[in-house]
């Protein structure tokens, strides 16, 4: 359901009858971004807008993103949706958008600039802190905890790591946190890392995976090691995590509302195109979900399979 929909083939002009919104995201291939894309596409169909959705291969590829933003500008869109990998890097381009009177909507994480009309984002740090809190609760406030993080330099990686670490440091004196390990969000690599962690720390009590790929990697690693009783806390959703939560392998996870982010983004963009006023920040929220609430409609609505 991706190459169809509103993107369409009307390649040429930025004008046309439908307003065109160019969205440059932090990623493309991962489920999280595909869910954002899905939300945006659905909303665009509803509102009668045309969108394109692009993102670099990895969240380290700042230059590629900047180039994508440049190319998006060249298409003279009516509005731009932008999730900055590095907000400073894009500053000149945002300035350019401003001079061209193209409104910019930031999403996922904030942009260090007052150019964006509004920002639809989640507080990743607070979300990670929430994950830490649940981990601590699950362990009764003591034990050894490891982190498998998807990236050590990207905003989301840093926030989800630091949010977790800081909460633990401040609130859980009984918990020892091992140095974070980074698996690039690759499931197989994260699984191998998890197994190494377990081998090196036979007394490990809990492991936190900072995004979908890391979390699934942790689940696989724990399963493959045959070790029982390790509490796993994850991030994002996706079928594998949902299944793991349902069958008890994973204690629970934090999810944002990617589909909602996509929708909010398009709504905000349309408003900006029409010149309507809107708040500077739209909090798209995050949720803790586990076995107990996974089937509740409000949670089910924000999970993607």
């Amino acid at each position: 359901a991706c190459n169809s929909s509103s993107g369409g083939t009307s390649t040429a002009s930025g004008g046309g009858d439908k307003p065109y919104i160019a969205i440059v995201s932090k990623g493309f291939q991962h489920q999280f971004w595909q869910a954002v894309k899905k939300g945006a596409e659905e909303e665009a169909a509803k509102q009668g807008a045309r969108i394109t959705f692009e993102g670099p291969a990895t969240e380290a590829d700042v230059e590629a993103q900047v180039t994508m933003l440049t190319n998006a500008l060249a298409k003279k869109p009516a509005a731009i949706g932008f999730a900055a990998l590095d907000s400073k890097a894009a500053a000149p381009l945002l300035q350019q958008a401003k001079s061209a009177k193209i409104p910019v909507i930031a999403f996922d994480s904030g942009v260090d600039s007052d150019i964006p009309v509004t920002t639809a984002s989640t507080d990743n740090k607070a979300a990670a802190a929430e994950a830490a809190k649940h981990m601590s609760d699950l362990l009764g406030g003591k034990g050894k905890v490891a982190l498998v993080v998807h990236d050590q330099t990207s905003r989301s990686g840093i926030d989800r790591r630091d949010g977790f670490l800081e909460w633990m440091k401040a609130n859980a004196p009984g918990i020892t946190v091992l140095p974070p390990q980074y698996g690039g969000g690759d499931q197989a690599k994260s699984a191998d890392i998890t197994k190494s962690i377990i081998a090196a720390n036979p007394d490990i009590a809990g492991i936190y995976g900072s995004n979908e790929g890391s979390a699934i990697g942790v689940i696989k690693g724990v399963e493959e090691s045959g070790k029982k009783g390790i509490k796993i806390v994850g991030f994002d959703s996706g079928k594998a995590q949902i299944d793991a939560i349902k069958n008890g392998t994973m204690a629970g996870a934090i999810t944002q509302n990617p589909i909602g982010i996509g929708q909010q983004l398009v709504i905000a963009a349309m408003k900006a195109i029409k010149g309507e006023n809107q708040p500077k920040v739209i909090d798209t929220g995050f949720y803790w979900y586990d076995k107990t609430n996974i089937d509740k409609p409000e949670i089910a609505a924000v999970l993607y399979q």
Binding site: N3, Q29, D186, A199, A200, E224, A240
Partner: protein, 342 residues
């Protein structure tokens, strides 16, 4: 003046210079065996260092984990060993593997084909990718680097297109997981995937050393033109070699998706360099004509032992790559020194 037809000349007889069974023959053969055995040395040294440094390293569970983590790269590396011995290269390994995993999902999950058929289909699909590479390289004469780079991009895109950019889950086919994580040996906790890699390595070794395919692989890498002029259809055998590598790509796709329980369309990029590195660390020359399966397996093990050991020792991750790089350098250098000596 004497023409070459110098007529009959008689002079003190000296024995005809036939074969001289000098130092070579038995001792020579033995020495070269020993040398190959010595190629293990780096691996063993690394292994020993970790075993001493960390009590958690040399446990049954961890050694199995190391072997398990070698499976995918190892499988890719086996196939590409043939390609590299012909003097070629295959950059489409990684994303090709992702595409094959997706195809496996399409066959088994979306089309609901029986497990065996789906797996076979995915492997054959890998063969098809390799075949296309082979045709581009052998018939259209596109340099292997470019041909497989293009295939890398195409496979990357197609994996997303075919899967609609979403993972395909094998939840309803529990048998699929067993391909990788099941324990065929009753009672022993030993993943099938490792056994499969071992079998594939043995098959590759036989193909490379005991069949004409292997001979031609070396010949083409040694001197393509001379091989062709010896009446051998270089085109055909090159296509076969790339197709074979493609079959291994397909198997890697099955193995990785069986391990993860899902076909992840966005993975794969980067695996090609790791697989090629394993082959080259194992002593196969990128210039072609030289190489061995044993070397490739050792190369793949060196990489995964290092990765695992550094993590077990809780080296900060940013230092792990630094150390990994240095150790690879030293290991290869030591190996070269040894070879030069003998």
């Amino acid at each position: 003046m004497t023409t070459p037809s110098a007529g009959t000349i008689t002079s003190p007889a000296s024995p005809p210079p036939t074969e001289q069974p000098a130092n070579e023959g038995l001792t020579g053969r033995l020495r070269s065996r020993l040398q190959q055995f010595l190629a293990f040395a780096s691996l063993i040294v690394i292994f020993a260092v970790f075993a001493i440094a960390s009590p958690n390293f040399l446990t049954y569970g961890n050694v199995t984990a190391i072997l398990f983590s070698t499976v995918v790269i190892g499988t890719l590396a086996l196939g590409t060993t043939f390609v590299i011995i012909t003097g070629g290269i295959d950059l489409s390994l990684g994303t090709g593997m992702a595409l094959c995993a997706v195809m496996s999902g399409v066959f088994i999950v979306n089309m609901d084909l029986p497990l065996g058929v789906g797996v076979l289909g995915a492997i054959l699909f890998g063969g098809l990718l390799g075949f296309v590479n082979g045709v581009n390289i052998a018939i259209l004469k596109i340099p292997p680097f470019i041909a497989t780079l293009a295939m890398m991009l195409v496979a990357q895109g197609l994996a997303l297109v075919v899967s609609h950019s979403a993972p395909i889950y094998f939840n309803d086919t529990p048998g699929y997981f067993a391909i990788s994580t099941g324990n065929l040996i009753p009672g022993v906790q030993f993943p099938n995937a490792v056994l499969i890699l071992a079998v594939l390595a043995v098959i590759s070794g036989i193909l490379l050393n005991k069949t004409i395919l292997g001979r031609y692989t070396y010949s083409i890498g040694s001197n393509e033109e001379a091989t062709s002029l010896s009446g051998i259809s270089v085109r055909k055998w090159k296509i076969i070699v790339y197709t074979l590598a493609g079959l291994f790509i397909g198997m890697a796709g099955v193995l990785i998706s069986a391990r993860l329980g899902s076909a992840q369309p966005a993975t794969g990029a980067g695996y090609e360099l790791q697989a090629i590195a394993a082959v080259v660390i194992g002593g196969t020359s990128l210039a072609g004509g030289k190489g061995s399966i044993v070397g490739t397996i050792i190369g793949a093990l060196i990489i995964s032992v290092l990765n695992n050991g550094l993590q077990i020792m809780s080296i900060p991750q940013e230092w792990q790559n630094v150390i990994l790089g240095c150790v690879i350098l030293v290991a290869v250098y030591a190996d070269m020194l040894r070879k030069r000596e003998s």
